[in-house]
Structures are given as C-alpha cells and as structure tokens.
Amino acid sequence: MANPMEQFEIRTLHPLDAMGYDVSFTNSSLWMLVAMVSIAAFLFIGTARPQLVPSRWQAAVEYMYEFVQKMLDENVGADGRRFVPLVFSIFVFVLACNLLGLLPWIGAFTPTSHVAVTLGLAAIVFAVVCIVGFARHGLHFFSLFWPKDANILLGAFVFLIEFISFLSRPFTLAIRLFANMTAGHVLLKVFGTFVVALGSFQALPYVFGVLPLAVNVALTALELLIAVVQAYVFALLTSIYLNDAVNLH
C-alpha cells in the first residue's frame, strides 16, 4: 500500500537560493501560484467593466465581496469595512488552495495542508491584529485580557490565561486548517488504495472496488464542503480577532 503521507511530499521543481536561504520553487509554490492566478483571473474578469447591472462574472465577484463585507459588518461593525480587502484576500486564497488541491489528479497539491503555509497566513492575521490593536488603543490594548469588575488576584490570574490564549490564537488557527486539509486528503488516499486493493481481487475483478470508490465519491463531496467551510472559518475567526483589536470587546 502506498504511503498516504506521500501526497504531502514537498518536491523541488526549481532550486533557488537567496542570501544563503533555500527558496526553491516547489510543488507547493506552484499550486500557490495556480491559486493566485485563478483568483487574479476571477477578479480581473469580474471587474474589467464594472456595471450597475452586473454581468455574471461581476455578480459572482460581488457575491463574495458582499459575503466578506457582511461578515465584517456583523463581527466588527462600521470600522470593519477597512479590513474587507485583507479578509477577502485571506478567504479567497485559502478557498482557492483548498479547492484546487481537491482536483482528482496526481499532480494536484494542497498548499494549505502544510502547517508552514497555514502558520504563515495565521501570522499575517496575528500581526495585523497586534498592529491595529496597539495603533488604536496603545497600551490599553492589554485591557482586552483584563476581566471587568474583578479583584486584583483573580484579575491577574484571568489576565494570564487570556494572554496565553491570545498568543495561542495563530497556532490554533493554523493547526485547524492544516489538520482538516491533511485528514481529508489522507482519508481520500486511504480509500483510493482500497479501490485498487479490493478491485484487483483475482477471482472477481473490479467488483469489490466499487464500494470504496462510492465512499470516495461521497468523501470528495464532503471534502468540498470542508474546503469551503474551513476557508469560511479562517476568515470568520480573522474578523472576530480583528473585532478584539478594533473594539476591545
């Protein structure tokens, strides 16, 4: 049986070196590029000639734009409009990486199944939250961790817990996405090997491969759902964290 982890292997396509650091163009880089180009095509076609009565492409882009805008309106409020481009970028990038990785093709790769990529995205979110928080509130930003109407001892204890939870946010954000993507692809691969193993039963060829194949079809639908939901969750948590930075509760 093929190793289900093999699909996550990073393969160097073009070795590169910048100031002593290895920045080789890998299959992960390639699929991030594919995701970026797909998004660029989607956005440039959709906004080529913006009209009051939108074309189909424009309506599609507008739908996503309004989706993100509504999410920020609900979670952050009026000040959230400034972060629409950022949250939109994160949402579509994660969504594109998740969906493109589900292409049933041997060369397909999911950059978001790697903790490096998800951690990088989470770091961007964390950095923006810290910058916005300190820029708007200065050191008052720390009052985010302080419980209201608590005595000093309990307050200090809660402050410590809240602070640690705040610092762990980028890791939970990164691991949630990476784990979901990895688990889904492992599951698909495991059932894929079942198809081959059971289908090649000598006495009754193909017959027993049908069942794991059907499971794989169902799993693909589930993984499509998870790909969308995880992109949504990532964007939603980003806007919730931004709300903390903008409004301090």
Partner: protein, 162 residues
Amino acid sequence: MPQFDFATFVPQLAWLTAFFAILYFGIVRFTLPKLGRVMTAREDQVTGDIATAERAKAEADNIQAAYDEGIAEARERARATLADSKAQVGRSVEARLAAAGEEVDARLKTAEAALEQARAKAMTSIESIAAEASADIVERFTGKRPTPSVAAKAAKAAVAAH
C-alpha cells in the same frame, strides 16, 4: 509527516509571502475598490429611485385629493342650482296661477253684473206685461178699463209681494 520537515518551511513561507503580497497589493486592492464604487453607486441609485417613486406617489395622492375635492364641490354646486331653479319654477307657477285666478274673478264679477242687469230688465218687462194682462182681465169683467198707471201700480205691488 512531510508537514513537519522544517527544512521546507523557509521556501514555503517565502513563496507564500511573495504570492500573498502580490494577491493583496496587486490584485485585490486593485480590483475590489472598483467594484465597491459600482456597488455604492447602485445602492445610491436604488435609494434615489425609491425616493423618486415616493415623491411621484405623494404627487398622485395630492392630485387624487384635489380631484375628489373638485368633484364634491361640483356636485354641491349642481345640487344648489337644481334647488334654486326648482324654487324659481314653483314661484312662477304660483304667480301665473294667482294672475289667472284674478282674471277669473273679474270675469265672474262682470258676468254677475250683466246677469243682475238682465234680471232687473226682465223684472220691469214682467211688470208691464202683468199690468197689461190685469188691465185686460179687469176690462172683461167690468167692461171698464183701468188707467195704465193704476194697473201698473197694482201689478208692481203684486210682483213685489210675490
């Protein structure tokens, strides 16, 4: 797990940073504001259209009210005119009836007067005929004819006593 091969972190993060920067600054910040402007313009147009429609409706309501008022006024006027002319007709009929009644009265009076005259005339002719006849009767009985004045007197007295 290849995910925890830390040697691959640097190239992945480097390309992620590059692509995400291009995506954010070069694509999203370049295209989304165009769409945002169009969406705002659309919203403005829709709210403007709604306001225009509301104004038109208010205007239509005003016209309707003015029309209703005009209709009611015209109806009132027509009713007043009708009552007026009815009263006028009534008055003129009364006047003509009164005039006709007077004329009838006058003619009645002249007719009565003529009748009275004729009656008086007839009375006197009856008296003379009676005097003549009684004179004839007296002459037959007595053979002597009374004078006309005596006969007339006696006839007059008889007629009056009758």
